[in-house]
Symmetry: D2
């Protein structure tokens, strides 16, 4: 297969390397600073896109005029990109929206969103959970063994993180809102708390990790957090912990985003590759119409 890989971060670099290692033709653009020894970056967007069967765009690709391309020597215009993509190519993009989505629709391009794939979300959740464990180990002056940790939210990340922390000997409390999630917390042998009433749950904790994308630890709730407790917010902006209030209260508080790419870029790249292969395979098998539009 022939892939054009345009923009993206270290995950994209690893992804492109893996595609090449699998024997595919891979043309890159905008990964100059990635330091890859096996990839070569094309001189122009046009060259990179020529004859592409599949065009891979970043995760997230960005909704504005510029492509998300932190490793590129120069900014990449989303308009220019949308113009240059061969009409018969399939575009595999992470969260296509905004400017690019509109232009692609206008041109009738086939665009698929790999970020919407549940299997990628789950794999990213596993990597995020492990990345969070690493941060806690680095930041805490005590071992996780014996530490008392509150994990707020029992979605994918909350589940996988709670299980890992417990396996390392931490005393884990997981909070949730729904009865069914509470039943899962119990079924997995964890201690439970109600996300709507965290005042008691934070008492005596060594660390608190939030996974809920809504303000769950505001200034008032933070007053109950014990001195020396470390706060880690994994929720995307604006996040679920009032970091400013936390610092004013003398609490160490950190927001960590995009952990899969930072903590384990190779695993992240492989997860995207597998997802793309699966999407291509399903598309071939089912001859599905290209209709999964986002934005």
């Amino acid at each position: 297969m022939e892939f054009s890989v345009i923009g993206g971060d270290m995950r994209t670099v690893r992804l492109a390397e893996l595609l090449k290692a699998d024997g595919h033709e891979v043309r890159c653009f905008g990964l100059e600073k990635g330091g890859s020894r096996v990839l070569t970056n094309e001189a122009s967007l046009g060259k990179a896109l020529r004859g592409a069967g599949y065009v891979i765009l970043p995760l997230p690709m960005g909704g504005g005029e510029e492509l998300n391309a932190p490793l590129s020597d120069a900014p990449i215009s989303v308009r220019e990109l949308a113009e240059a993509i061969p009409p018969e190519a399939t575009v595999l993009a992470g969260k296509p929206e905004g400017v690019f989505a509109e232009l692609a629709r206008a041109r009738g391009l086939c665009v698929r969103d790999y970020f919407a794939r549940e299997e990628l979300t789950v794999r990213n959740a596993a990597s995020t959970a492990e990345g969070a464990v690493e941060i806690l180990m680095r930041e805490l002056p005590v071992t996780l063994l014996g530490a008392r940790i509150l994990v707020i939210g029992f979605g994918r990340i909350g589940k996988l993180l709670s299980l890992r922390l417990r396996a390392l000997g931490a005393d884990v409390t997981a909070s949730a809102r729904k009865c069914a999630d509470m039943a899962w917390i119990e079924a997995l042998g964890l201690r439970g708390a109600d996300t709507r009433r965290l005042a008691d749950a934070v008492t005596g904790k060594t660390a608190v990790v939030n996974t809920v994308p809504a303000m769950v630890l505001d200034r008032e709730a933070l007053t109950g957090v014990p001195d020396g407790c470390f706060l880690l917010d994994l929720a995307s902006k604006p996040g679920g912990i009032d970091l400013e209030a936390a610092r004013e209260l003398g609490l160490r508080a950190v927001r960590a985003l995009a952990l899969p790419g930072k903590a384990a870029p190779e695993t992240a790249g492989a997860a995207i590759r597998d997802t793309l292969y699966q999407m291509i395979k399903e598309s071939d098998e089912n001859e599905l119409e290209c209709s999964q539009w986002k934005g």
Copy 2:
């Protein structure tokens, strides 16, 4: 609160005992053979239902003319029951359907299905998983430590069973159909297989446990199962393993249903009680209309 408990199995007996221990008024009918020391059975359906705020019916209550009441001295007519329930009572039933559902609708009774509650399903899945572990320990001439076990299906029971078996030192392969489930299998550190292609997966296994309610191990697939392998089908009838074919092939094969009530009746009773309390609480808080009809 005033509860009338009509029919049911040992779980219902434990449930009624727990409600009584919590200080509620509890009137029973049809639990004579349950051997409870604290419950007394009323002389008639009418007496048992008089003044009831909540009428608790079995799980499952049964869709025909007779109530599911294996511990009752005499059969209980669903028509008689539907007639005798006070109109202002709330009926909490496990899978209300068929004859009773129709009659109750005709009379305008408020009927809620506690079996449809996700939290109860999850708690039952945990008990089922543990019950399955007990059966495997009892039936296998080897320890689970080191045993090679295939778990077919990665829903609630598949997940919780796979984790327990792995924790006991078994070499667990879990099978699934969906990519997202495969990602969960991987995220939990388990070995995976495709439920659509089990021929390879059964090779060399010490035991195979099915959780999928569809024929996954038919006569042909069973020919690949090694001698001495033990087969356990947890899926409700008609199940997912051709038990007859298995026996003809000389394989030990067992179907185990309703494990929560059999393996841990007290836990099962407590799970139903908590679910009923939650349903009552939600109903009080939200003044929801009574509209969750099944069947």
Copy 3:
């Protein structure tokens, strides 16, 4: 190799079958009731021992006049046995002591104790731990998930049992006497208690399992055990729980011995086989003198 297998229980039957399956010549005596389809029992002790390179005696072989041979049609005299063993054979016995040990020494027989091998003890401990989990699952009306269990003693069985129970979601307290064991309890993320002060530790427990071969729960200590608590004594006689006092107090109490052979005879047989092979290999390699006498 040529093995004579004399007396023993189902573990010995499986052991003999496994040796045969490995291609060795195996002559049995005293396993008539074992129901094996692949073994044949010789007509006399003499025939069974003729030309034997290795004579395998039961675990434990018994210290009196009669060999431990519950599956034999007739009693086997230890004196007759000691006389009939070819002088050049190596005797592999489980706990050789008493009458046989004296006679063997007098005859100058080479006798080795496989029960003294640490690797077999550890493997048996793992099987005992799993067998204990099975008993708890069978006996308790609640799931191990959420059950509060005290494990007395943190030797091999205590360690392996505590880890398994915790993995199944039980709330486990392990007791020990030595500081170092307490540190292990902590390092493995378990709750700890002092074996010398169990009064507090038994409070509120769903079940108590003893692994210590000394009276740790006497009549007085038992008065603190809550109603409905299940007691399991894994220590060899006289055990560590006063079972009589327990029953007088209305507590369910069970002593379970020889679990590896009962719960998983194939695993137990394989563990002995591997141990015997290892002993034979070491003996060949090192040309050690035969001097490891017990009794």
Copy 4:
């Protein structure tokens, strides 16, 4: 109680803080650079030692002329120290040996070695295991989930590290020499290898961690290690991996020592404190003679 704390690293600082928080009188010397807000350092060794009931020396205290005191503004002479300790004080030292041990013996001082305490060794092993997990997470470009890791040696650290890695979803092989250790590896559900034959075991590994204080991965053995594999040596110098050879072969290799103090100084300080309390308690209870000399 009255403690004099002389020299040491951050663990000693935390230890001294904890002793003070417990209400004891604590005089420090040589912890100036420790940055503690609650401790004050005495102006002279003499002042720090005046009236001391217990003198706490570092872990390890160092066998030469100078005390191990990296946080001290000036070097501390072991001779001066030995002279200044009040004769009735009990000296609690980590690995007392060499110059100090001789002088103390000559003066008839009571010196006890807290490093020789098994409970401290176990607690340190747990912290070391967790520290090793942190290093692996930081250094590997992939997640531990799914990584193939070889742990060489199945002593305390090997056991606790293997269990943690497996709990995080790694595919763990543990190597040992003794049959009994191999049985433990199996009983804990891990994959095993023979430390004497690592050539096969290193194949395909993502990382190799050594815990054995003897050369187990020499230049020749390293040639079998796959490209990209990360090597971590936890064994004290000279260690068990030929780091120089590893680097020449293009392998990333790191030696990590004293992890408890680096990764979790508060946990390390608390572990020492608990050990000292226990030693003091035992000494009071048993009126043991002071005879546990090392060196």
